[in-house]
C-alpha cells in the first residue's frame, strides 16, 4: 500500500481543469479485504450461537425420542439403570421457583437501592456507591454460593427453626425437627442477593437519564420527593427497570454454581420450599452430566436446550423493551 494520502497538487493535476473534482470514492481492494475480515469475525458469533442450538438439539433428540412427551410431564428422573426415566418436570419447576423467589427478594431491594443511589444519597457518595454496585456485579457466583452455604445458611436455618416452633400454623412449616437447609428457598434467597447488583446497575442507569428539569418541575410545583419518584422517575424509567428485571431473571434461571453448592438435589417437585430437596436444570447438568450413560446425557442436553432457548428469548424480549440496556463501564 502506498500512501493513501495524496498531496493536493497531485489531485489537482489529475482533475480536468474545468470540471469540479468528482466526489466518488470507490472502496479500494484493501477496503474490501478489510470488510471481508469484519464480516468473517461477525459470522463467528452467528456460527457459535447456531452451533450451540444445533448441537444441543442434535444431542437432545434421542432422549426426547425415547421418552416422548413424558420428558416434560413426568417428574420421575432416574438416569441410570436398564429402564431409565427422564421426567424433567421436577427440575423445570425447581428452576422456575428459584428464579421467582430470587426476583421477589431481589427486585424491590434493587429498585430501592437504585432510587437511593440516584435520588436520596448525597452527591459525594453517589460515585462510590455506583462503583461498588458495578464491582459487586462482576463478582463470580462461586463467592455467592460459598457465602450462602457457609455463612447465610445457618443463620436462615436458625430463624426458620424458631419460626416453625412458634408459627406452626403457617402451612410451609410441617416438621419442627427439620433443619431447613439445602432448600429451594435458600437458593432463591442467595440468587436473589446475587442479582441485586445487576438489576440495580441497569435501573440506576435508566433512572439517571430521566430529564432533570422535569424532576425539578415536579419539586417546584410543591411535590414531595416521593411524589417526584412515583410520578416522574418511575413512569419514565419503567421500561428500563423491566428490562433490568428480565436480565436478572435470565441470570437467575441460568445460575449454576451457587445453586449446586446449596441445594440438596432430589429432582422432583418440592412444594415445601423451605425444606431440603427440589431440582434445578443447570445444577442437575453440572452434578451428573459426566457420570451418566449416553441416553441420560442426551436428556440433560435437552433440558439445557430448553433453558438456553428460554433465556435467549427472555433476552430478546428484554432488548425489545429497553432498547439496549447500557453496559456500564465508567
Amino acid at each position: 500500500m502506498t500512501s493513501a494520502l495524496r498531496s493536493p497538487s497531485e489531485a489537482i493535476e489529475e482533475a480536468p481543469s474545468e470540471t469540479p473534482l468528482a466526489l466518488r470514492r470507490a472502496s479500494t481492494g484493501h477496503d474490501r479485504i478489510f470488510l471481508g475480515i469484519l464480516y468473517g469475525a461477525s459470522a463467528i458469533v452467528l456460527l457459535i450461537i447456531s452451533g450451540i442450538l444445533l448441537f444441543l438439539a442434535w444431542n437432545g433428540w434421542p432422549a426426547l425420542h425415547y421418552s416422548g412427551l413424558h420428558i416434560i410431564t413426568s417428574q420421575h428422573y432416574a438416569p441410570t439403570g436398564t429402564h431409565p426415566s427422564f421426567g424433567l418436570l421436577g427440575v423445570l419447576v425447581g428452576t422456575i421457583s428459584i428464579a421467582v423467589i430470587a426476583l421477589l427478594v431481589g427486585v424491590p431491594i434493587a429498585v430501592s437501592a437504585a432510587l437511593m443511589i440516584n435520588e436520596y444519597a448525597p452527591r459525594k457518595i453517589r460515585r462510590v456507591l455506583t462503583s461498588l454496585v458495578d464491582l459487586l456485579a462482576v463478582l463470580p457466583s462461586l463467592l455467592y454460593g460459598l457465602w450462602g452455604h457457609i455463612v447465610l445458611s445457618p443463620e436462615v436455618s436458625n430463624i426458620l427453626v424458631w419460626l416453625s416452633h412458634h408459627a406452626d400454623f403457617f402451612p410451609l412449616f410441617r416438621d419442627p425437627e427439620l433443619e431447613y437447609v439445602g432448600s429451594i428457598f435458600l437458593c432463591g434467597l442467595v440468587v436473589g442477593i446475587m442479582i441485586i447488583p445487576i438489576v440495580t446497575s441497569v435501573s440506576r442507569e435508566v433512572m439517571s437519564q430521566v430529564p432533570r428539569d422535569t424532576c425539578e418541575a415536579a419539586l417546584a410545583l410543591g411535590g414531595t420527593r416521593w411524589g417526584m419518584v412515583t410520578d416522574v422517575i418511575l413512569p419514565f424509567a419503567k421500561n428500563g427497570i423491566v428490562g433490568g428485571i428480565l436480565l436478572g431473571l435470565a441470570r437467575a434461571l441460568g445460575e449454576t454454581v451457587a445453586v449446586l453448592i446449596i441445594l440438596s438435589q432430589t429432582n422432583v417437585i418440592q412444594w415445601h420450599i423451605l425444606e431440603p430437596g427440589g431440582g434445578d436444570i443447570p445444577a442437575l447438568i453440572a452434578n451428573l452430566f459426566v457420570s451418566v450413560p449416553h441416553l441420560a446425557k442426551s436428556s440433560m442436553t435437552f433440558a439445557g436446550l430448553l433453558l438456553f432457548v428460554t433465556i435467549f428469548v427472555l433476552n430478546l424480549i428484554a432488548r425489545r423493551i429497553v432498547g439496549r440496556p447500557k453496559v456500564s463501564i465508567a
Partner: protein, 376 residues
Amino acid sequence: MTSLLETERSPAPLFDPDRPRPRAHWAPGQLPELFGSLGASAAVVAVAFTVGGLFTLSIRTMLFGELVCVMIGFLLIFGILTALRHGPIVAKDRLATVGIWVGASIALFPLVQMVLSVIGHGGSVVFEHFPDFLTHDRVDNGMGNAIIGTFEQVGLATFYTVPISLLTATFLSETSSAFSRIVRTIVDAMMGTPSIIAGLFVYLIWVQPKGTNGYSGFAASLALAVLMLPLMIRTAEEVIRVVPGSLREAALALGAPRWKVSLRIVLPTVRSGLLTAMILGVALGVGETAPTLFTAHGSEVYNFNPFSGVQANLPLQAFQLIQSPSPDLVRQAWGGAFILVFMILGLFTATRILSRQRVGAPRRRFRRPRKEVELP
C-alpha cells in the same frame, strides 16, 4: 482596608452572622422532627425487647427478630406521628424515604458482608502459609496448580476473543446493514447465555469426540471464550460509538481508505475504553466455574500444558474443595475465593483507572511523521 469598611455606614445586611438568633421556642405540639423519630424508635425498641424477652431465643435469632420488629414498629409509630402533624402526603414521603434507605442498606449489607467474610476467612488461610499456599499444588494444600490453570485458560480465551471482539465491534459500529442488525441482536441475546450451557457445548463438540483424554485447559478456554465474547463485543461497540463522526469524516475527506480510518483513527482514539472492555471480559472469565466443569475437569497436581490432560482452575478448585467433607479443605476453598476476589478487584481497579482517562488522550510518546506533506 477594614477600617474603611467599618466607618462606612451600610444599610443593615440581610444576613448578619453576628446577630443573635431568635430562640426557638418549643411548644408542646411543635417538638422538632428529630425528637419525634427518636421517641418513636425508643418506644419501639423498648416494646420489642420486652416482647423478645418473653421468648427464649438464641441471641442471633433474637437480634434478627428484634431488628424486624423494631423496623415495623418504627415505621408504624413514625408514620402515625407524621400523619397527625403534617398530613398524609408528607407522611407518605417520609415513610418512603425511610423505606428506600432501609431497602438500600438491605441490598448493601449482605453483599458487603460477603466480601468481608471472604477477605476475613480467606485472608487468614492465604497468609497463614504465605508463599506456599500460592505455589504448592492441591496435594500439598496449595492453589498454585489452579492459579497456573486460570492464567493459561483465561489467557488463551483472551487470545481468541480480543481480535474477534474488536473486529466484530468495529463491524457493528462502522457499518449498517441487515446482517449487522442481526449480529447485534444475537450478541445482545447471547450476553445472558447460562455458563453451564457453554461448558456443555464445548463438551459436545470437543471433549466427547476426543474420548477419555478430551479434557484439557484448551477446551476450558473455548468455553470461557464463548462467554467472554458477547460481553467484550458489546462493551467495545459501545465504546467505539463514542468516537465522533466528524473525526471519521475528516479522515475520509483527506482520502484515507476505510480500513485505515478504522484501525488508525477510530480504534486508537478510544484505546483506553477498549482496554476496559477487554479487562471486563477477562474479569468475567476469571470468575466462571460452571463452563470449566466438563472441560478442564480439575486436577490435583501441576499441569503446565493446557493442550493435554486435565487441568485445574481457580474457581473450579475452590468449588471442588467446598464439596469435600473435611473442614480443612473447605477453609482452603475460602483461600481460593480470596485469591479470586483479589484478582477481580485488581482488574476492576484497572478499569476504573483507565476509564478516568480522557477519550482520545494523546499517547505518551509522540512519533514524528516520517515525511512532511508539502503544500503547493
